[in-house]
Symmetry: C2
Subunit: 207 residues, 2 copies
Amino acid sequence: MSAMATRTMRKPPEDKYDERRRALAESALRTLGELGYARASLREIAHNSEFSHGVVHYYFRDKLELIVYCVQEYKKTCVTRYDGVVADATTPEGLVDAFAAKLAETIIDEAPMHRLWYDLRAQSMFEEHLREAVTAIDRTLEDMVWRVVTRYAELADAAPALTPNAAYGVLDGVFQQALLGHVGGQDGALSVLDAQVHELMPLMLRR
Amino acid sequence: MSAMATRTMRKPPEDKYDERRRALAESALRTLGELGYARASLREIAHNSEFSHGVVHYYFRDKLELIVYCVQEYKKTCVTRYDGVVADATTPEGLVDAFAAKLAETIIDEAPMHRLWYDLRAQSMFEEHLREAVTAIDRTLEDMVWRVVTRYAELADAAPALTPNAAYGVLDGVFQQALLGHVGGQDGALSVLDAQVHELMPLMLRR
DNA sequence: CCCGGGTCTTGACGGATGTCAAGACTTTTC
DNA sequence: GAAAAGTCTTGACATCCGTCAAGACCCGGG
């Protein structure tokens, strides 16, 4: 009768199951960051993990569910990335310095993850199954940026001159540009980013 | 001996050859805009043209050469897109209105081409063979934006407050966001873009 | 001890893809 | 008008992909 609704036919562990899903998703994220969405096959993903290729369909219905799960997993590593910057800053200039430095740092340390993000966001314009997860992350990132901007305005004793989505669009634009340059081997890309952030942040304050 | 250097073993037409390449590239662009880089197969591309699938390797060495050629072809349709806006504007406000309207218009009319562009740009972070062509287009777009910004500053009798790449990054960011929203069916995306452009352009002037 | 359910591997399937060789059709050339 | 060069189609190849079924392995409870 194929007694298998969709999920949870497990009995005792129930968290071992989720643990495996997370482990698998982590391997998948490594592979995805390396090869991109299009060329990361399930076999390659499994090969970069401690399992064999068949196990994927034991933990995920199909490839897309795996990837959506990965994307949501990735989101968690993003949310708090700049909260330290916001919390520690005491002057507007100091916040801009720390924020710009953190942006450059994350490009250096996590370039594969970031290029995967832009890949997935572009793919979501072709595959609507990705759209929901991508949109959710986009909102999360916008909120994150907005926390930085409002704190900056607060420290400068001014009001933000931009809407949240405009502020996100602006900073995401220059960030993406810097990532592109960095991945392409342009060594000036990161210092340009630093300069651009210092250039842009003051413009976000109403005067 | 397989007498076939790399190109040009043709004798008389030499332009019929290029004409076919262009026709094939046009079909390819249609298909690529529909399916994206990853899922646009040579057979599907040929199917959307008047030829059969084998002909691709008569005019292009492999799939990548086809796509790079397509990308360069696409560039030509971009370069002059906003030149009319620059030429016709007589007041700074008028230029912003026309520019914002043109941005929204091109999202409506050519959404497939634009999402393809962002797809290819993301792919170029994984496939270095795409990088050169993508970088060239990126520079072209930056120049295009810069022409708008300098003309705007000129009309407003002020100096630009941003560097060319910052200005491009900023506008590309909000444009991409609007495209994402438009493709995803958010009907407010375009009016948000219009508002954002009106919000951002004045900030680009030194005061 | 063994039995049963959860876990994982192996191997196979049908289909799609890039590539290319062989030849047919078309145009040019003498 | 026949030969040659250019153009295009057809069909096949090797390979890779996602998926899934069959069974082996592992482990706790009877």
